[in-house]
Subunit: 202 residues, 2 copies
């Protein structure tokens, strides 16, 4: 890693932490310059615009998410074991507060849903990729003959996403000690409903 | 309704619409004064502080929510019909954009979850009341012998809340035309799983 890369990653990590606290819309080049004690003109020369900074932060958070959640789960066998790994790693990502103000994507989704522009467009792409990871992993369970052939991967992806969003709400806002065990129960119910019942048990 | 009440309600409606667009944290007395072309000192004398204004907006949105979603559903028979009415009215509330920037509570939940203070405290109370409406309505279905006696009302409330949050995300951010039909299917699956299977069908 060159010195330039390290510095850029340090700035992006800091910017992502700042966005997780103040919201993506609050992440301006001026706010980041204040926070890092760097010159605003230097940061402006580097990023070009507030929207470019915000988009880079989304991409940075997405690459962290892929390293922490998606890539390790791909080492698990296709179908149910991989889905369990994705879910458990997502819970850990949200619970352990990868960034101080909580999941950047959950916050950005309700912040940007009514603000058209390049940052919202990038968020939609990244969220679509994540929902597709869930749907494709489910489809592989169907292809392998473990899940019912008429189960709907897009339905499963939206349902699991709901389990995650409700966990985020119950855990972070409501500080409900049962939030995680309920989320795990809901996930297990979705998986159990998808399993073929005509197979001999292992 | 006296003139004073009408004016106060007009200001609160406007403040709630503003909060739905810029976020609850962006709703300051100065921003509201600019938007309404009223004096900042007059609004300050009326509300007292930014936090009091934000709390009043949450209470105002909650009273609108109760009139649009909760109260009409209470006219339905206890148990499943009431739960269906609560769910359908919630979908309509979210879909029709009761406020221009979308549901104030969904946005406030991710905005305030890491910001301790009186506004967050009030939001938590209001969200707890809503989750309890769902859980108590479900409990009445158990009491009436229609749902399984070992079903868990708090689990149902968190699960239905997840269905709603995923619908909000898929509909508003992702503009997914299937968002609502999937939400309805997920809700029906939760209800079907709760029904007693040892009763003669009607």
């Amino acid at each position: 890693m060159t010195k330039g890369t390290a510095t850029r990653d340090t700035i992006l990590l800091h910017a992502t932490e700042l966005a997780s606290r103040v919201g993506l819309s609050g992440l301006t080049i001026g706010a980041l310059a204040d926070d890092l004690d760097l010159s605003k003109s230097g940061l402006f020369a580097h990023f070009g615009s507030k929207e470019a900074l915000q988009t880079r932060v989304l991409d940075y958070a997405a690459s962290e998410f892929i390293e922490a959640v998606v890539r390790p789960a791909l080492h698990e066998p296709r179908g149910e074991p991989r889905l369990v790994a994705l879910f458990e790693r997502w819970l850990a990502w949200d619970r352990n507060g990868s960034f101080p103000g909580g999941c950047v994507f959950v916050a950005a989704a309700s912040e940007l849903d009514d603000r058209p522009g390049p940052v919202r467009d990038r968020l939609v792409e990244l969220q679509r990729e994540w929902l597709q990871v869930l749907a494709i992993s489910f489809q592989k369970g169907i292809d392998a003959g473990r899940f019912k052939s008429d189960a709907d991967p897009a339905q499963f992806a939206q349902d699991v996403h709901g389990v995650m969003l409700a966990f985020h709400h119950a855990g972070r806002l409501m500080a409900d000690p049962e939030a995680e065990s309920r989320a795990r129960r809901a996930f297990n119910t979705l998986i159990a409903a998808a399993r073929r019942t005509d197979l001999p048990s292992a």
